[in-house]
Amino acid sequence: MQTTHNQLYSSRAKLFTLGMKDCAPLILAAIPFGIIYGALGQSTELTAWAVVAMSVFVFAGSSQFIAVGLLASGAAWPVVVLTTFFVNFRHLLYSANLLPHVKPYSQSIRAPMAFLLTDESFAVASNYLTDHGKQENFHWYYFGAALFMYLNWQVCTLVGLFIGQSIPDMANWGLDMAMVVAFIGIVVPCLHNRATLACALTAGALSLITYDWPHKTGLLFSAVAAILVAMYLEAKSAQQTNAVGRVEQGANK
C-alpha cells in the first residue's frame, strides 16, 4: 500500500518536473519579455503596484505590452480592457483544443489550469499531448510547465521594474527571436501531410497581409482561415482515399 502511494507521488513529481523541463526553452525566451514589460511599465504613469498586479492577476504577456503602450498614449481603461479581450481571444481556441483533456478534472483544478493558459503553456502542453496522447495525470505535467512560467514572469516583471531602465536598448536586441525558434520547434514536427503544411502556410501568409488589422484580429482571422483550408484538404484527401478504396474493391470483384 505504502509503496503504491510512494510510486503515485513519485510519478506525479516526475510529471511535474518533466513539465518544468519541457518548458525551459520557453522560459528562457520569456525572460527578456518580462524584463522589458517591467521596464516599460515603470516608465508609464502606472504605479509599480499596478505593473506587478497586472502580471500577477492578468498574466498575459502580449496584452500586458499592449496595455502599457495604450496607457502611454493616453487611452482610457475601458479601451485597454476591450483591447485585452480581442488580443486574448485566441486563448479560446487553446481552451477548446485542450477541452477533452480537462474534462476528467473538477472545477477547482480546471480554474487554475485556465488561469495559467498562455501561448507558452499551451504550446508545451499540446506538444506533450501530440507525443503521448490522452494522459491520466496530465494536470501535473501542465502545472509543472505553467507554474514555472508564472513564477518566471513575476520575477522578470520585478527585475524589469528595478533594473530594466538601466539596460540600454534591450527592446532592440532581437530577443524575441528566442520565442520564434521555440514555436518553430513545436510547429515543424506537426507538419506531416498536405493539410497541415497548407494550414501553416495559409496562417503565415495571411498573418502578414492582415498584420495591420486592429487588436490582433488579423491573427485570429488568419488562424481560422488556415484551419478551414486544412479541413477542406483533409476532407478532399479522405474522399480520394475512399475513391481509391472503392476502385480497388471493384477490381477485386
Partner: protein, 106 residues
Amino acid sequence: MNEVLLILGMFVVTFGIRYVLFAVADNIEFPDKLKRALNYVPIAVLTAIIFPAVFMPKGELFVSTDNPYIVGAIVAVVISFWRKNMLLTVVTGLVAFAAWKWLLIG
C-alpha cells in the same frame, strides 16, 4: 486612471476567455468536425505569431538576406525537420540569428 478597474477588467476578460469552455465542459460535446478542426489550432495560431515576427521585425515587410530573423528561422525549420529536437532547434536557430546579425554589423 483607475488602476483597480483597469486590472480587474483585464483579469475578468482574460480569465473569462480562458475559463468559459472549461467551466461548461461537462455539458458540451463538440461535433466531430469541430474536434478535428481544433487539432489544427497549434499549427495555425503559432504560425500566425511566427510569420510577422520573422518577416516584419520592425512592423514592415523585410524580406532580404539582411534580415537575420529569416536566416535564424530557416536554420531552425531545417534543424527541427531533420532532428525533431526542441532544444537543438532553439539553440541552433538562436546561434544562426546572432551570428548573422553580428556578420551584418561587422
